[in-house]
Amino acid sequence: MVREVAESCVDTMLMEMVAMYSGRFYANKPELAARRIEAIGYQVGHQLSERYTMERPRFSDHLEAIKFICKDFWSEVFKKQIDNLKTNHRGTFVLQDNKFRWLSRVSIDPSSSEKETEDPSTPGESKAAQAVSMYLYFPCGIIRGVLSNLGIPCAVSADISSLPTCSFVIRVKA
């Protein structure tokens, strides 16, 4: 039995979650807010991985699990696959999504980015980048949750040097 929800509802709920945690619950403590949001993502990833690996056999190695995330899992959650996967074969994987769905509508103030070109160290630009990075803790948590449920403890971080391209860096703990 499939029940459907409008995507706008999910989008708005994610926006509001980040706004609540970074604006109200842990105002002025962005690291705590980030940690809390990432923990929520971890739970969600845990549960989603159960649902999406129900009929599959166990993964033979780490690379197979990562490929599952890039193809099937990403298609289920974001309706597309990861565009580029890189690895150093020593436990580090970089997943690149060229048009990350949850960041597709994020757009920074063009006038503040003009100021940034004059002086690259202006705090204005990093505030915008910081605001956007709060929205990435949730997907990082999801990936960490999925992998830990598949038996692969890891740390996940995100890199948004060029929007809307988004890279997730997975470091598997030895």
Binding site: T12, V18, A19, R105, V106, S107, I108, S112, A131
Partner: protein, 169 residues
């Protein structure tokens, strides 16, 4: 009743018929009269400073709406002053034309007013304004960084809007 529904950016934009600069300027106001966006493509004459210009425009539309509702010979329900109406309900004006320009107007139930000033031979722009509103929803309302009630500063919105308005005849 589905007014603004659909999938990605919908309704799909009306077919562009001409290229170039047919629009003069555009205003977007919210319910409280805050000018969220003012864009200018072709405005050779400026008579007032920007604040006065925005206030004048907002006041003009407010008065025009209530005037047209009061003068309505057909509809008995006059509605409340200043309250945005559901589409199709009551009497809502959508454009006026002078010998030098045509002003097209649309108000959404949420109180967002979109005004587009174009050259006088422009046709009915109601579909175009609906499409611009859908752009607003996609790129501004759904932008996590946007603070509702503040002026719009989204690059994605500006680009998409510019591209679309230039394609209107």
């Amino acid at each position: 009743m589905q007014f603004f529904g659909g999938s990605e950016i919908s309704p799909s934009p009306p077919v562009p018929t001409a290229s170039g600069n047919n629009a003069h300027m555009m205003y977007v106001f919210n319910r409280n009269g805050v000018c969220l966006l003012y864009k200018e493509w072709n405005r050779p004459l400026h008579t007032l400073n920007p604040q006065q210009d925005h206030k004048l425009m907002f006041g003009l539309l407010f008065s025009l709406k209530s005037l047209t509702a009061k003068m309505d010979p057909v509809n008995a329900d006059k509605g409340n002053l200043g309250v945005p109406q559901l589409p199709g309900q009551g009497c809502s004006f959508h454009s006026f034309r002078t010998n030098t320009y045509k002003l097209s107007f649309m108000e959404t139930p949420s109180g967002i007013k979109i005004i587009l000033v174009t050259h006088p031979k422009t046709g009915d722009l109601r579909e175009a304004l609906k499409y611009i509103y859908s752009l607003y929803v996609e790129y501004v309302v759904k932008n996590p960084i946007y603070c509702p009630g503040s002026p719009i500063k989204s690059e994605l919105f500006n680009t998409a809007l510019d591209q679309y308005v230039r394609s209107i005849s």
